[in-house]
């Protein structure tokens, strides 16, 4: 039988290339109404009075009084109201919806609702900690006292906007008492459970259907639950189909972004320039709600040792509440911030010690059976040394690194080493998600994959079918994987955390094995529920044990030229080497690699987003620059096999891994090109200019 990694055409290529794939905006229903959100025009305070214009017949106002259930959006931490009742905690906080048949009249009504506020002094400083975590490993306390010297640095990361090309939106309708919603989402059951809570209704009276999704990158993990709850309340009131789709500006101003982070690192250095211990303290800006932020912080802190084994380690951090737009999930989920910080720190420490940076990092690279930052065990083989040799060879790194040390070259090359913990952090997979999948065979020998996993571009509609077709040895055309519909598929968990192929695909693979034994039976369904491998144990209180069942590993090399006059960075070449266990489809994995690295590099040098007094300054695709084809360098990727026992064919996580190493790698390259140290991303031309004027900043 042929190798499953061998690429096939994507099963949805046809409909997407021809433009016939239906995204939420392409769904039209008879008598469809439009909804638009009225939002706060202040950053912090209370609503004093709302004055409405004359509302024409057929038009409706939907606000907190129309939430029949709990006026809180069900996310991991429940602190976001469906509609605010009184309190305003960030600019553009949703207050009410206006619904009606004519979009322009709906907009007129929204514009003519006058709201009086009592303004309060907002907080933008990182002073209100809502969550604090601390854990340590080894003799982290005493080792700093014994150190020969201590080196300390600060690092800072900015916002990053997911910038999926399809904005957020839903359409929904009522059938009797039952609300059905279809929207641009990653997690059908997150949405379903949130709507059940907001409506205070029964499980079988909410149905979520996923259409084609035009990119998500984490941005459609938790935020869509808010829109869905609001729209569900509107549908209950108006009793007609309603469409609610954000325009780009609304999407950029109000949806969740990557948390800005600040990290302080300390290294205890011994007499022989050895790294005795490491301390990190990190803060992330949650914005006005906690939401998923605590989990983001947890993933960041667990990544605090980077790809290295540090015997004595201390991690602490806070989730800070500010009067700014709430932040949330974005591909990498805290890891891109921390890997940027720890990679930069390791590099800078080595420079301070006068040691070759790569040699210094190699010395501490994690090995199989080493203890993780949380005293879990890296149980599976780690092949980073072999991967590193490959990365150096294909990029000709050492020669270029030497050549570009001549400042007149204006060029630089950098290398980053990193991992990603696959699946939910801590005991989430075992205790919260408990994924369920079903596999159905009909009498015509067609096999149906029944899971809630969403294809948002990462290709799961192709790769899951491929797994089933390979194990059952049937043509892929006989494997059916329709868009998830919560009336028909079990809760296999959200499409997040690089868990879909490894966890959901793993369950499907096991269901296939059972199905294969019973193949002669005419019609039947196999159900499987995720059980965490016995040896994987994690204490969420003390951060002790195995935070992840498996780890994917990666290396990025980035080569740049920085214009000596404009300080604009041009990415020339990139080389990547990844261990993703087993590639289920080479072309799809390489696509993830290209796309993830492009986002990761852009996070490091290009994508600028900031707020001034709670106002996000980049509100459209003209202000917020994401890479165009012109910004793409030549890209080369090598995939290594290193199978994980519980992943299908050995597959581990892919999607997030590919974003994580881009920022540090591009920053090292820029550092070499301009002969200055970077402590903040994005390393924009303005920031480089600042560094150039800083006499004390030396590489």
């Amino acid at each position: 039988m042929k190798d499953i990694s061998k690429s096939i055409f994507k099963t949805d290529g046809d409909e997407k290339i021809s433009g016939q794939a239906k995204y939420v905006a392409d769904i039209k229903l008879p008598d469809m109404q439009h909804a638009l959100t009225k939002r706060s025009s202040i950053v912090c305070g209370e609503i004093k009075n709302i004055e409405y214009p004359t509302i024409p017949e057929g038009y409706f106002i939907v606000d907190h009084r129309d939430v029949p259930g709990k006026n809180v959006v069900k996310i991991i931490y429940e602190d976001m109201p469906v509609f605010t009742e009184k309190e305003i905690t960030y600019l553009h906080e949703p207050i009410l919806l206006v619904c009606g048949p004519d979009k322009s009249i709906v907009k007129d009504i929204v514009d003519n609702i006058k709201i009086e506020y009592i303004e309060k002094k907002p907080v933008f400083d990182w002073v209100n900690s809502a969550v604090h975590y601390h854990f340590d490993k080894g003799e982290s306390k005493s080792i700093f006292a014994k150190a020969d010297r201590v080196i300390e640095y600060d690092y800072e990361t900015g916002y990053q906007e997911q910038a999926y090309i399809e904005t957020q939106g839903f359409i929904g309708y009522l059938e009797g008492e039952k609300v059905t919603l279809s929207g641009s989402i990653q997690c059908p059951y997150y949405v379903k459970n949130a709507v059940i809570q907001a409506l205070g209704t029964a499980d079988d009276l909410v149905r979520i259907i996923q259409p084609s999704v035009g990119g998500a990158f984490g941005g459609k993990e938790e935020f869509p639950s808010l829109i869905a709850c609001q729209l569900a309340c509107a549908i209950k009131k108006v009793k007609k189909p309603i469409q609610l789709i954000y325009e780009r500006e609304e999407d950029m101003l109000v949806t969740t972004k990557r948390h800005p982070a600040r990290m302080h690192f300390s290294a205890a250095i011994g007499k022989n320039n050895e790294l005795l211990g490491l301390k990190v303290n990190a803060g992330i800006d949650a914005g006005a709600n906690i939401g998923l932020s605590a989990v983001v912080l947890a993933r960041a802190l667990i990544a605090g040792t980077g790809a290295y084994t540090i015997d004595n380690f201390d991690a602490s951090g806070d989730v800070f509440i500010t009067n700014t737009v709430p932040n949330g999930a974005f591909r990498g989920f805290g890891a891109p911030q921390m890997f940027y910080g720890v990679e930069m720190f390791m590099e800078h420490v080595a420079r301070d010690l006068g040691i070759d940076q790569l040699e210094f990092k190699k010395k501490y690279l994690a090995k199989q059976n080493d203890l993780t930052s949380t005293c879990g065990i890296f149980r599976d083989p780690i092949i980073m040394n072999e991967m590193l040799e490959k990365a150096l060879e294909i990029s000709d790194y050492k020669k270029k690194r030497k050549e570009y040390s001549n400042p007149l070259s204006n060029k630089g090359i950098g290398i980053s080493l990193f991992f990603h913990g696959c699946g939910f952090t801590g005991s989430g997979e075992a205790k919260i998600i408990k994924a369920k999948v079903k596999l159905k065979k009909d009498k015509f020998n067609k096999v149906y994959i029944l899971v809630a996993a969403v294809d948002m571009g990462q290709g799961i509609r192709t790769t899951l079918r491929k797994v089933v077709s390979h194990i059952l040895e049937i043509p892929i055309e006989d494997v059916i994987f329709d868009f998830p519909d919560t009336d028909f598929v079990p809760d296999s968990g959200p499409t997040v955390a690089s868990r879909t192929m490894m966890i959901v695909g793993g369950l499907i693979a096991r269901a296939c094995e059972t199905m294969k034994k019973r193949w002669k039976e005419s019609e039947f369904i196999i159900e499987k529920t995720y059980i965490q491998p016995e040896y994987i144990k994690f204490d969420d209180e003390t951060f002790t044990g195995d935070a992840y069942p498996a780890y994917s590993w990666g290396i990025n090399v980035v080569e740049v030229r920085v214009d000596p006059n404009t300080y604009q960075t041009k990415v020339l070449n990139t080389w990547s080497v990844y261990d993703v266990g087993k590639s289920i489809d080479d072309r799809i994995i390489l696509g993830q690699a290209d796309g993830g690295l492009t986002q990761g590099i852009a996070y490091g040098y290009l994508e600028v987003m900031n707020h001034v007094n709670g106002v996000i300054k980049q509100k459209n695709m003209t202000d917020y620059i994401i890479p165009t084809a012109m910004d793409t360098g030549n890209m080369e990727t090598v995939i290594y096999e290193n199978p994980y026992a519980f992943g299908p064919y050995g597959a581990k996580g892919v999607g997030e891994l590919t974003l994580i190493g881009g920022a540090p790698a591009v920053c090292f390259a820029i550092e070499q090109a301009v002969n200055k140290r970077i402590h903040k991303i994005p390393a924009s031309p303005e920031y480089i200019l600042e560094m150039m004027n800083d006499e004390k900043n030396r590489l």
Binding site: S7, F9, K10, D12, G13, D14, E15, K16, I17, S18, G19, Q20, A21, K22, Y23, A25, D26, K28, Q162, A163, Y164, I165, E166, T167, S212, V213, G214, G215, A216, F217, E247, R248, M456, G457, Q458, G459, R587, I588, L590, G591, D594, G595, G596, L597, T598, Q599, N620, M621, T622, I626, P627, T628, A629, M630, T632, M635
Partner: protein, 157 residues
């Protein structure tokens, strides 16, 4: 309201509408051409790209009034051509499609580029695609796909 006549995907059409409506809305809503996507609404992302008299144009930035007598081709019209088949195959071979939301616009931009330059260099392809944003692929595979299409479609453009 006024009557506007133009050619749409090779067929003469006529529509009674407000003159200030965006071509994007007329195509998507009135003609139900769902291959024309709204990504940004301000001419920045290219998801709504169509050909007007063989030139690639963002349909969100064109009022329908400007379309009088024009020859407009959307992905739906382009997909009936042999050049489409070559490009489609190249996109699939190279893995140029992920979420698919930018893909019809990319196909239109590629057709326009190859019409002007049947054998573009990598740099020329990058310039040709610079008006179309893709957040999934990092463009690498789209660039390779167009290079492949140029080779395989020798003589078609």
């Amino acid at each position: 309201m006024r009557k506007i006549d133009f050619r749409l995907n090779g067929v003469p059409v006529s529509i009674e509408t407000q003159l200030n409506r965006r071509l994007l809305d007329v195509l998507h809503e009135d003609f139900e051409l769902i291959g024309v996507k709204e990504g940004c609404g301000e001419g920045e992302c290219g998801a709504c790209a169509v050909l007007i008299d063989h030139e690639v144009v963002n349909s969100c930035s064109i009022p329908i009034a400007n379309c009088l007598g024009k020859d407009i081709v959307t992905i739906e019209g382009f997909s009936n051509t042999s050049r489409y088949k070559i490009l489609k195959n190249a996109f699939e071979e190279e893995g140029a499609v992920q979420c698919g939301f930018c893909t019809p616009g990319m196909m239109i931009a590629a057709e326009s580029l190859l019409n002007k330059n049947s054998n573009p260099t990598i740099e020329e392809i990058k310039i040709g695609l610079s008006g179309n944003l893709c957040r999934c692929t990092g463009y690498n595979m789209i660039i390779k796909a167009i290079k492949r299409a140029a080779k395989e479609g020798d003589g078609k453009w």
